[in-house]
């Protein structure tokens, strides 16, 4: 379930894979030391009400060591609101939110990660980078999705991961090793489906430019588009701290 939001995919085909190594390979191929893009987010709820937001995303480091800052740029009401994420290989990530109007950062407590990410259909947990070893995997078959053949893998988060999900079904394209779909289950009930489309090779990394999250229960969809995507650009480590967020005020 790693890198759902920012999922990147690798391309080289391998033989005789077991489920875990497929996921591991997929993660390896998407690895980059840093990343930057401008995102557009559109939420369509059951009443077809649409709200749009834009932000800039920067990440330094990868997987379990990654630090990321997500800064909203539009609409005006939310401009300047930022999210700082510090991932850890061995435990849940630390997340802080910065609200410029009250000049305060707020720590998103561990127990809050199952709540929705600001009215989108993501949860805070979905934003985490997670080490491959925090789940177990099982290959359950192959399916054709969007015209391409994909492995279907069932991933079960280990207890220590304290996930809100009981299992996740993953589809990994056989040709590019990129994630194309994930279905998240809580107590055997499908709660969220995520689709990765507009696959494009950016700086030799297969990247989905469009993500669609469908909250089944609420029948609400969030569509996210990644623009101006760059990998391995120089980013200063001190920008990924709370002090940096405060300084910018």
């Amino acid at each position: 379930m790693s890198r759902l939001l920012l999922g990147l995919m690798a391309a080289l085909p391998l033989l005789a894979q077991d489920a875990r190594s497929i996921v591991d390979e997929a993660q390896k191929r998407s690895r980059a030391d840093s990343q930057r893009y401008e995102g557009t987010l559109e939420v369509r709820d059951a009443k077809r009400k649409i709200s749009t937001k834009r932000w800039v995303y920067e990440r330094l480091g990868s997987a379990g060591e990654a630090k990321a800052v997500l800064k909203f740029t539009a609409p005006a009401e939310v401009k300047g609101v930022a999210l700082l994420i510090h991932n850890h290989p061995d435990r849940a990530s630390d997340q802080w939110m910065w609200t410029p109007a009250v000049a305060r950062e707020r720590r998103i407590a561990f127990q809050d990660r199952r709540t929705r990410f600001f009215g989108t259909d993501f949860t805070f947990e979905d934003l985490e980078e997670r080490d491959v070893d925090r789940s177990t995997y099982k290959l359950t078959g192959e399916e054709k999705l969007d015209g391409a053949l994909a492995w279907k893998i069932e991933s079960t988060p280990k207890a220590e991961a304290r996930s809100q999900y009981t299992r996740i079904a993953l589809w990994v394209r056989k040709d590019t090793y990129s994630f194309v779909q994930a279905e998240c289950f809580a107590k055997d009930k499908l709660v969220r489906r995520i689709r990765y489309t507009d696959l494009e090779k950016v700086q030799n990394i297969w990247t989905a430019r469009t993500l669609e999250v469908h909250d089944i229960e609420r029948d609400s969809r969030t569509v996210m588009k990644l623009e101006k995507l760059q990998y391995n650009i120089p980013l200063a480590a001190e920008n990924f701290t709370l002090q940096a967020l405060r300084r910018e005020q």
Binding site: A46, T99, R116, R218
Partner: protein, 850 residues
């Protein structure tokens, strides 16, 4: 049972009005008891309900009295492994300025995660009721209102609502609506939710939280987790289940209960005498009936039982009426208590539902019936003692129970002796309360003897006023002391009750006035809320420097008041610049040396406590106080005791520096400003408002306004007392009406004879008037004396058990003088009806037998 139907019912039917009057005392006693307690309980219940609703699934809460605590506490709480969810909360009560909507309780919560703990009902299936959570958080003017409130006010999503903030009135945008039910129904929907950090800013709270609400992991042992958290956080923070907030409130409500109990007791006592009186007379009236029954084979036991059952039924009937009336008046009283607590403690609490506790009703019923049975005991005994032979002989009255008078007098004197002994026996509650009871009982038992004695004294006066009628009336009193003494006792009790209640009110007012003269002497008070009891908004300390710049201000004292919990009771902590206070304020020093104690306190070497704190908590100068602060235990010495009426539960005064060190709180509620000589209050006030009014929320109150406010609160506090006085007077009047009605009926024949031998109707009329006046006068005289005793005791009770107020004994002469015409007038009026019926009735009928 059959006897009741055959004997009692026809009698009751014939004397319906009289029977109703007889039970009046019981009705009112039970009603006051039920009404006051039900109101108290309902307010308490409503409070607990609200606490529950606001608490949601919170299992434990971390608080530090009213002072709040630094944000870091949250992370310490979250680090505890038992804790599943821990969320910070800020509460503030805010005026909306909307007509008739009252205050809004604003709950500042962390919107990023709190929702699992409380049922905001925001994630309803059709629609997210917060329009956009990101916008909500990004904009500090965002609030969520309840659907109820929106419907009442016509406000809608994205509409604007103006609320008072630290920076003056400010518009808020409604970015969410809570569905009704759950949290949204607390405070009748007068509830708003906003982001906690926005709330900190808006209410000037700095980096402090009021509370952390905690839900534990499933299956965690709440008590064990509580103990672990308490150890982790130290003694300055309280870790309690949400329900314990009600307990603090209970302490406040308790004072009302005590006063209600005393009044109910008196009303029941009065009821006792009314019933005793009516039954005694009824026994006399029904002598021949009793004689017939005895001749027909009724045993003494049967007769006695018949009368006891009658009094029991009267008691039951009166109690039931009282229960109904009590529940009825409870609603009004509940509203009253709520609004008082709102003013005094800033807890806006409406009791939506007034429901009586079945146990309370049971107790009230028992008290009413028991009182009635006790009252009926002696009449029932004398009914059983009726000699059938004499009863069946015509025209012979039986003089009943001679010698009982002496026994009573002896008992009274013994009680009086014991009562006085109790005063000297020491201060143990047992002695004290028995002394109280014994003295009252002694006076009541002496009443018949006193009646005769005083009637003799009155006789010449009455004779002088009206030679014939006066003498007749006086003789009637002298001949039938049994008939009058019951009424006189009831009347005396009412008068005593009024004197006691009035005395305590008078004394309190005078003491508070004196205290205001010495302690509340600044010219202006600069506050952050419209009322000095509201502490939702606070100034930063530095604001004082700006204020000092204003022309005309000579000296400024920054005061931070906050309730903290001392040994389970909320008490008031006042932190201020003690040195400056010592120079300006001249509160009466009860213990300690004025000079040295203030100097030491200003150096942070100890605290000064209020007199009521000392009395209620049994603390004296030199004792060590253990105060719980968010940073740990503060052991500090009591350096002195002063007369201070700031808070009913007691006040601790400490220096600002010490407070800042331990409570990490640098905010201020009130700046007390003394003006330079010659500066006018209104000019400086205007200057302050001009300079700061636009950018800061501030109110400038003059000395006079503060005094008026305190007097108003005191007045409100005694408001219920006045209701009790009214009840007492009412019972007394009913008592006189009852006795005179009965006594005239009893003497129809005698009055008939009087007319037959040539008395004019007017003479008969005047005789009865004189008698009524005399009864009133007797009741007043004995009541004034009993009132003096009663006042002494309730002042003592107030001092030791209720408010810890050392009130001086001041006999309410004004009230006594007012009672004079009221009671005499009432007596005269209640004599009028019976007098008319006596002269209007047919002479032949009156002289006829049976």
């Amino acid at each position: 049972m059959m006897l009741l139907r055959l004997i009692t019912w026809p009698y009751v039917r014939k004397h319906m009005l009289r029977c109703l009057l007889t039970t009046a005392g019981i009705v009112l006693g039970v009603a006051v008891f039920v009404g006051m307690h039900t109101a108290n309980q309902s307010v308490l219940y409503a409070f607990n309900q609200t606490v529950d609703k606001i608490a949601g699934s919170t299992q434990l809460q971390v608080t530090a009295g009213e002072t709040g605590f630094p944000e870091e506490v949250l992370e310490r709480v979250q680090s505890q492994p038992d804790v599943e969810v821990a969320v910070p909360v800020i509460e503030a009560s805010v005026q909306t300025g909307l007509q008739g909507q009252g205050n809004l309780l604003v709950l500042g919560v962390d919107m990023t995660g709190d929702r699992s703990l409380r049922d905001y009902d925001l994630n309803s299936t059709e629609d997210a009721t917060i329009d956009d959570p990101l916008v909500f958080l990004a904009q500090p003017d965002s609030i969520i209102l309840s659907e109820q409130f929106c419907q009442r006010t016509g406000l809608q999503m994205n509409g604007k609502l103006t609320m008072q903030t630290m920076a003056g009135p400010k518009q808020f945008t409604i970015r969410g609506v809570m569905k009704s039910g759950g949290l949204a129904s607390a405070f009748g929907g007068n509830l708003a939710v906003m982001d906690i950090y926005a709330a900190q800013m808006v209410f000037g709270r700095g980096r402090q939280f009021d509370r952390v609400d905690i839900a534990l992991h499933r299956g965690a042992d709440v008590n064990a987790a509580r103990a672990r958290l308490q150890t982790l956080l130290g003694p300055g923070l309280q870790v309690d289940p949400p329900s314990s907030r009600g307990q603090q409130f209970e302490a406040m409500a308790q004072i009302y209960s005590m006063s209600a109990n005393i009044t109910s007791l008196f009303a029941l006592f009065i009821g006792l005498f009314l019933i005793y009186n009516t039954f005694s007379i009824a026994v006399t009236q029904r002598r021949s009936e009793i004689g017939i029954l005895r001749a027909l084979g009724a045993t003494q036991g049967q007769i006695k039982r018949l009368f006891l059952i009658e009094s029991g039924i009267a008691g039951l009937f009166g109690s039931l009426l009282g229960l109904g009336l009590g529940v009825l008046i409870a609603r009004g009283i509940a509203g009253y208590i709520s609004s008082y607590l709102g003013e005094m403690y800033g807890v806006a609490q409406r009791a939506e539902e007034v429901s009586a506790d079945p146990r309370l009703l049971g107790i009230a019923l028992f008290l009413g019936v028991a009182t009635s049975l006790i009252a009926g005991w002696i009449p029932a005994r004398s009914a059983a003692g009726v000699d059938p032979v004499k009863a069946l002989q015509k025209g012979r009255a039986q003089v009943m129970s001679e010698g009982e008078n002496r026994a009573r007098k002896i008992a009274a004197l013994v009680m009086l002796g014991l009562g006085i002994a109790c005063v000297f026996a020491g201060h143990k509650p047992l002695f004290f309360y028995s002394g109280y009871m014994l003295s009252v009982l002694a006076v009541l038992l002496l009443t018949p003897a006193l009646c005769i004695w005083l009637s003799r004294l009155l006789r010449p006066l009455m004779k002088w006023m009206r030679p014939v009628e006066g003498a007749l009336a006086a003789d009637s009193l002298l001949q039938a002391p049994r008939r009058t003494s019951g009424t006189v006792a009831a009347l005396a009790l009412s008068v005593a009750l009024v004197i006691g209640l009035g005395g305590i009110a008078k004394s309190s007012f005078e003491m508070i006035r004196e205290w205001m003269d010495t302690a509340l002497n600044p010219d202006l008070f600069v506050t952050s809320s419209e009322s000095i009891t509201q502490r939702s908004f606070r100034f930063p300390y530095e604001f004082g420097d700006e204020l000092r710049q204003v022309e005309g201000i000579e000296e400024l004292q920054a005061v931070r008041t906050a309730r903290i919990v001392y040994q389970g009771t909320p008490v008031m902590l006042v932190s201020t610049n003690v040195e400056s206070i010592a120079n300006r304020v001249n509160m009466k020093v009860i213990e300690g040396d004025r000079e040295t104690m203030y100097r030491q306190v200003s150096r942070g070497e100890g605290v000064v406590i209020s007199d009521n704190f000392a009395l209620l908590r049994r603390v004296n100068t030199g004792d060590m106080l253990e105060l719980l602060s968010p940073t740990g235990l503060l052991r500090t010495k009591v350096l002195g005791v002063v007369a201070d009426f700031s808070d009913q539960q007691g006040t601790i005064m400490m220096d600002r520096e010490l407070y800042r060190r331990y409570w990490k709180d640098d905010t201020v509620n009130v700046f007390r400003a003394y003006l330079k000589p010659g500066a006018s209050q209104s000019d400086v006030r205007q200057r302050l408002l001009d300079r700061f009014g636009a950018k800061t929320r501030l109110f400038v109150l003059t000395n006079g306004e503060i005094r008026a406010f305190i007097l108003k609160i005191t007045e409100q506090w005694f408001g219920l007392t006045y209701v009790q006085i009214f009840v007492a007077v009412l019972v007394a009047i009913l008592g006189i009406v009852n006795t005179l009605t009965v006594s005239i009926a009893d003497r129809k024949r005698e009055l008939g004879v009087l007319q037959a031998v040539g008395a004019l109707r007017n003479q008969v009329r005047h005789t009865i008037w004189m008698e009524a006046l005399a009864i009133g006068a007797l009741g007043l005289m004995i009541g004034f004396a009993l009132g003096a005793v009663h006042l002494y005791y309730i002042l003592e009770i107030t001092k030791r058990d209720i408010a810890g107020m050392r009130l001086e004994y001041r006999y309410p002469i004004g009230i006594a003088l007012t009672l004079l015409p009221v009671m005499l007038g009432a007596a005269l009026l209640s004599g009028a009806g019976p007098a008319e019926s006596a002269v209007r009735g047919s002479l032949v009928e009156a002289l006829e037998y049976e």
